[in-house]
């Protein structure tokens, strides 16, 4: 059958055309971009050093090629801007971007709006890896790279790989339900191991706890360079699958009648989301709530299609974490509040408000 001629001929009035994006969705795109720009600006301007906002903006404009203006910032202020605040804001943006994207990817792959990037044990694996390294290799001198992020990265990958391995041995089709159950089991196992190691090395408890709560306070350009390739690759793969994530929403059976290899699609999406998540948690610790609240809020606001949810979750995740970090480092200045506390403290009430508004409408 081809609809080329008949249906278009039978349409009674104008030739059928569907707009690319609903008007509401276009508004959300603009809002997401503007919010990110605003968050970045606030992130670099606000801080204990009290940089002049006009000077910061001129300094940023001067960074644009072929623009030659003087910002008026002193060398010290320039160093604070470019070596402390900007890498922290960029890293926060990348971590939030990735957690938002991974959360959306997991939620789509498992058809579960309550899924988050840590669903298949990434957090438990990263926690175990970091705890092992803190407990058994304290000080970490003499390593070519910082061993704690490396161990966290490998732990996260190992946990999710183990979940998939367990699932495929139980069910060769690796259906969503089987993978989820395997993930819960593996996460519980890794958490138990981590707790045991932690108990055996009580002296490292404070350091492990600090890592688990997450933070961006030790970041620099080095961390940005470290995670950028993973975030780029992972984001590209997830974006390429955003339409297929919509197809998965009708269930494996129906999706396969539409020509989609559901098991392969789920594996690739989970693989990409895990790679990106493992990379960012390795440098930021286990920042919770972003991966679940951001995609879910986007879904409530801009519709459920992953063609919109996924990219908007990236932008909103970046914005959310930059703002959360700004709050974390300013409200109790000069000390810092763990960013995970901020994401939950502000994220949970915001989410409830969004949910109530949606339910009422």
């Amino acid at each position: 059958m081809t609809l080329t001629a008949p249906p278009l001929d039978r349409v009674p009035t104008e030739p059928a055309s569907a707009p690319a994006e609903p008007v509401g969705a276009r508004r959300w795109w603009m809002a997401a971009v503007l919010a990110l720009v605003g968050a970045v600006a606030a992130g670099v301007v606000v801080g204990p050093a009290g940089l002049p906002w006009r000077g910061v903006i001129l300094e940023l404009v001067a960074w644009v090629p072929l623009v030659h203006i003087r910002s008026g910032l002193s060398p010290t202020e320039q160093a604070i801007l470019w070596q402390i605040r900007m890498p922290r804001v960029v890293l926060g943006g990348l971590v939030g971007w990735m957690l938002g994207a991974s959360g959306a990817g997991y939620q789509g792959a498992f058809r579960n709006p309550l899924a988050d990037p840590y669903l298949l044990g990434a957090a438990a694996g990263a926690g175990l890896g970091a705890t092992l390294m803190i407990a058994y290799a304290p000080g970490s001198t003499g390593w070519p790279v910082d061993p704690v992020p490396l161990a966290a990265f490998l732990g996260a990958i190992a946990a999710v790989a183990a979940s998939y391995l367990v699932a495929t041995t139980a069910d060769r089709h690796a259906t969503a339900a089987t993978v989820l159950l395997a993930g819960i089991a593996v996460a519980a196992f890794f958490t138990a191991l981590q707790t045991y190691v932690q108990q055996q090395h009580a002296g490292s408890l404070r350091q492990v706890y600090a890592w688990i709560l997450g933070g961006l306070n030790t970041s620099g350009w080095h961390d940005v360079v470290l995670v950028l390739p993973y975030v780029t690759l992972s984001s590209a793969v997830l974006l390429a699958h955003r339409r297929l994530l919509d197809v998965l929403q009708v269930g494996d059976h129906e999706a396969s009648t539409l020509g989609v290899d559901t098991a392969r699609t789920r594996l690739v999406v989970v693989g990409a989301a895990t790679l990106g998540t493992a990379a960012v948690v390795a440098v930021s610790g286990l920042i919770g709530f972003v991966g679940i609240i951001v995609p879910h809020t986007i879904r409530l606001a801009a519709g459920s299609s992953y063609r919109r949810v996924l990219p908007l979750s990236m932008l909103a995740g970046a914005t959310f974490l930059i703002v959360a970090d700004l709050i974390a480092r300013t409200v109790a200045s000069p000390s810092e509040i763990p960013i995970g506390v901020i994401t939950a403290f502000f994220g949970a009430p915001f989410f409830i408000v969004v949910l109530r508004r949606r339910m009422r409408s």
Binding site: A16, A18, S256, T257, S305
Partner: protein
Amino acid sequence: MTAIELDGVTVRYAGVLALGPFTEQIPSGSWLCLIGPNGAGKTSLLHAIAGLVPHGGRITVNGAPVDRRSPLHRARVVALVPQRPTIPEDMSVSDYTLLGRTPHIPRFGIESEWDRAVVAAVLDRLELGPFARRRLGNLSGGELQRVLLARALAQEAPVLLLDEPTSALDLGHQQHVLRLVDELRQDFGLTVVTTMHDLTLAGAHADTLVLLHRGVPVAAGPPSSVLTESTLRRYYHADLQVLTAGDGTIAVVPRVGHRPRSAGRGS
């Protein structure tokens, strides 16, 4: 021209034979309806044609065996509306219909203007244009059934498989949906294969009925030859009568409070 050729088709679940052997040739543009008691193998046959379950024998759609086609190519020739579809309630009608374009969009691509135009045309054709932005969760049963049809139609597949398309609808919506399917079949030359429990509606719309019993076809042919009291009583174990109106329309009605009779007003 034959659209679907079924040659000794069997379906087994955990080694137990659920269907077959089943042999039938379904002409292009025709409507074949599978009837039979629960568990007769109707859905299994639809799933075998759609490539959802492994099968024995040979199933050919438009000249090529279905099991030799890739899932993507199979989706371009066979569209299935399942009996109990998974409904993503938050998805809009237009986004859901767009899923039907999946076999025509490159794996990592996004829908083209043409895909959107096809979706809009299908929605208009099924009078769903005003519902395009509505959430699936907010639709009535009749509207939802038309949306399911829209998604299948957007696939532009020449073969349309409908598993109990009217089971959740009231009488008016049942008629509306089946008339719509018939119109679409004639407009686009679709080959339609359905399963149905309502024998009156099945007889009113299908060219050919195949009565399955325990996986085996026990009667096949035009409705007047299959919908006979003796055949239906034998395989449905039901007390019923078959009435034939002056225009040849057949109605199968259950008897209430009567003993089975050997003959009614009909056949």
